[in-house]
Amino acid sequence: MSVNNLINNFVVRFANVNGTGSASANYLFAKAVFRMGIFATPKNIFPSNIQGLPTWYDVRVSEKGYLGRREGVDMMVSVNPQSMANDIKSVKTGGYFLYDSTKDLPEAYIREDINYIGVPLMEMCIREYSDPRQRQLFKNIIYIGALAALMNIEFDVLEQLFKEQFAGKEKLIAPNVKAVQLGMDYIKANYAYPLPIRLERRNLIGDKILIDGNSACGLGAVYGGATVAAWYPITPSTSVVEAYAEYAKKYRVDPKTGKNNFAIVQAEDELAAIGMVIGANWNGARSFTATSGPGVSLMNEFLGLAYFAEIPTLLIDVQRSGPSTGMPTRTQQSDITLAAYASHGDTKHVLVFPSTPKECFDLTADSLDLAEHLQTPIIMLTDLDLGMNDHISDPFVWDDNRKYNRGKVLHAEDLEKMSRFGRYLDVDKDGVTYRTYPGTHPTKGSFFTRGTSRDEYAVYTEDSGAYVQNMERLQLKWNTAKKLVPAPILYQEKNKSKIGFVFFGTTLFAAEESMDMLAENNIAIDAIRLRAFPFNHQVEEFISSHETIVVIEQNRDAQMRSLLINELNCNPSKIKSILNYDGMPITADMIVHQFNNL
């Protein structure tokens, strides 16, 4: 390790027990790094229960701005006896192991190649606090204090963070500050500090923000004009609607009447949630739901209805590790096939793949437009990593001149001018037809929405010709969608390589880093980041203009690769896969390693 490499370039892992208040303490560390102008990427690795099981919290600090997960722990803060044996193993040679030295470490836990830093956390807590709950809570803050001394976290930054956190509850600030100081003092009194691996203030962050993807989706839904949210709780999507609720309460309560310019219903299950979304959209209100894999499975029948009856629908799927209940608190990108073809019969759905909180915000708002424009379900596929972890992101922007695109809706005036309204008449020859909201006009514009075959005037029919015509029009609409969905992002277009990487969603972070790593070894790689399905012409061109395509994804079955082959008719033999599906976010090392073995 060169000295340069030790500053602002390491991974700290906190090993705790859940339910002990550790997540917020650990977040404090990440936020402090961020405030010091350095890139920090926190990952909360939590169990699927509420209290008492091992939980980890990684913070990768990166001067170069790499935001992906990295394996190999430089500093392990280990306060969980349950997992300690394994935690010790995961420290890199030369790394540090900070532990609660109230009790001695067993012999077996001693490694020669790492450094041990004992802090008698429990002992200090028992001495300083009398309430057992405070003892547990401040243990976490004390180790943050220890890290502050060891790694040069600026004290002012921590103090300021407490001030912000406890604004309005000022009496809570002092005890927290005290706990930090206890930790710092102990280190200063007992250890050489700071360590070689440490922080140094930089100015790398600019106007960036630190936020989780689910909050960004919720906010995007408020900005995008969603008025009806229906949902059923499920990890890791719950906080999407919670965020929507929070921002809606903040921005959407009529100051005069105190009434809500939004409606949120916790449905009895996911079938009901999507049913409500379809009902609301049918009736002209922008509406969305958020769920995860099991919920999407349950929504299959309704998704087919929305496709066939042509009802705008926005479904945010925050993916977790499947199949079935799988690993509900681990990440994956494995609902792609299901989402693309959900429901029986010939169905296809528009998919959108955000990679960052900013894209969560933008694409949520954009998808509300797109759903109404195309009158079809839009399924946004994010994942646990993006949704529940904080990410450094470009700030959100909004153009106050932006108008919602409500799609082809006829109002009373329009109907007045028309002779006969045909709900499924392809007037514009783009497969997208005109609709009316219920209640628009006393005698014109009513129609009957159904999941059964119907003619252009929405009249029930079992006529083969009418059925085929309609199905062909839906196919034409699919082609129209290609022009409207978010375009992919292209990398390194100039010095074209023979190899093209394809990735999407949270793979972005690791993929970009891996390309830098390969570039250092003089392997130039072109790349495209997909942002939507169906694929537009750029994707098609990218695939056809490279000899080898490597699709990087976080699932077992190479689901995106299948979509590409299916929809673009490209030759599978040139399309390779790099996969990680163990529930942890993919890393650049994994990509490079698998690439070298391709």
Partner: protein, 350 residues
């Protein structure tokens, strides 16, 4: 196929307060079996809306899947309709209502649609007190899939296929009462004199209004034990083993006074006893309503009329305090917090 509207209209047809004739409230030709109770209920809906002089385009009609769920096509052709998926109409209606509180919502369902696949959504739409009229066209069987028993079929009754129903019948009005429903009524498809006022009352109820309408399926609700049905033609059909021949039947009507009971003969010769609530029945006491329903069950009778009402009730919109303006009419100016707010928010995340 039955014709619920005559083909020719006299120009001087009576008009309602809006100046509309009843024709305006009708729908397309029914494709249900001749004599099907469901058609009578459609006719009652038409009549009620006409008499109340509702603007047809201010009504939305929603349904699930089944013969009963087809009926919204056969009434109110000037209203938007939504024939959704089997058993899930309540959620679609909930979403629709959330989007626009100002329309009148008619939900039409069958006993299969509500009491089997739709049970979960039914329970929860009651619980949310959604402001809608919820009509169950209850024939004790799955008409559209050819006559299997539904969960409301009487214990011991026989299906067309001859199998005896072994299970306790689900009583939707009693269930709704237990769940806190604020308007619970029961009637018979052939009893227009009772049904029309109930529909009107349900429309005017500012919360969830259930009307469970016993609606004979002339085709599949045949009791093979009854002598009348057991004729030559029946044997013929049985022998060919295809449920393919459906003799033309007349609608069953029932006219009887409040406070009395009436034995109604069904197409197959079996019968049921309707018991009309007396005019002095107090429909504002949930406990007596529940007890009366239980008692009727013990007596082998079907209680009809407005069983329970809580006239001052808080519907879903009031509970969650949505704006007075329908949500589907709000635009950017009210919905989008704008760039400045967003920049302030960004600051919170730095």
């Amino acid at each position: 196929m039955t014709y619920i509207k005559p083909k020719f209209r006299h120009p001087a047809l009576p008009k309602n307060d809006l100046g509309y004739t009843k024709t305006v409230y009708e729908g397309s030709l029914s494709t249900l079996c001749a004599g099907c109770g469901h058609d009578s209920i459609s006719a009652a809906i038409v009549q009620s809306c006409y008499e109340l002089a509702l603007e047809p385009h201010r009504i939305a009609k929603l349904s699930g899947i089944g013969c009963s769920s087809k009926t919204p096509a056969y009434f109110l052709s000037q209203s938007h309709g939504f024939n959704s998926v089997h058993g899930r109409m309540p959620s679609v209606a909930t979403g629709a209502s959330l989007a626009n509180k100002d329309l009148i919502y008619f939900g039409v369902s069958g006993d299969g649609d509500t009491a089997s696949i739709g049970m979960g959504q039914f329970v929860h739409v009651v619980r949310r007190n959604l402001n809608m009229v919820y009509i169950v066209m209850n024939n004790g069987c799955y008409g559209l899939t050819k006559g299997q028993d539904s969960a409301t079929a009487d214990e011991g009754s026989k299906s067309k296929a001859g199998s005896v129903n072994l299970f306790h019948a689900i009583d939707l009005p009693s269930l709704a009462l237990e769940l806190g429903a604020t308007f619970v009524a029961q009637s018979f498809s052939g009893d227009k004199a009772q049904l029309i006022p109930l529909i009107k009352a349900a429309i005017n109820h500012p919360g969830f209004a259930l009307i469970n309408v016993i609606s004979p399926c002339v085709t599949f609700n045949n009791n093979p034990g009854s002598t009348k049905a057991y004729d030559y033609v029946r044997e013929h059909i049985e022998a060919t083993a295809t449920v393919d021949f459906i003799p033309l039947q007349e609608e069953i009507s029932a006219d009887y006074a409040a406070g009395s009971s009436k034995n109604i003969e069904m197409h197959d010769g079996s019968s049921l006893v309707l018991n009309k609530l007396a005019t002095n029945w107090n429909p504002q006491d949930r406990m007596s309503a529940m007890n009366a329903m239980q008692q009727a069950k013990l007596d082998g009778e079907i209680l009809t009329g407005l069983i329970y009402i809580e006239p001052e009730t808080t519907d879903l919109h009031s509970l969650i305090q949505t704006s007075d303006t329908p949500l589907n009419t709000l635009d950017e100016s009210l919905l989008c917090p704008g760039a400045a707010a967003l920049e302030a928010l960004n600051e919170e995340f730095r």
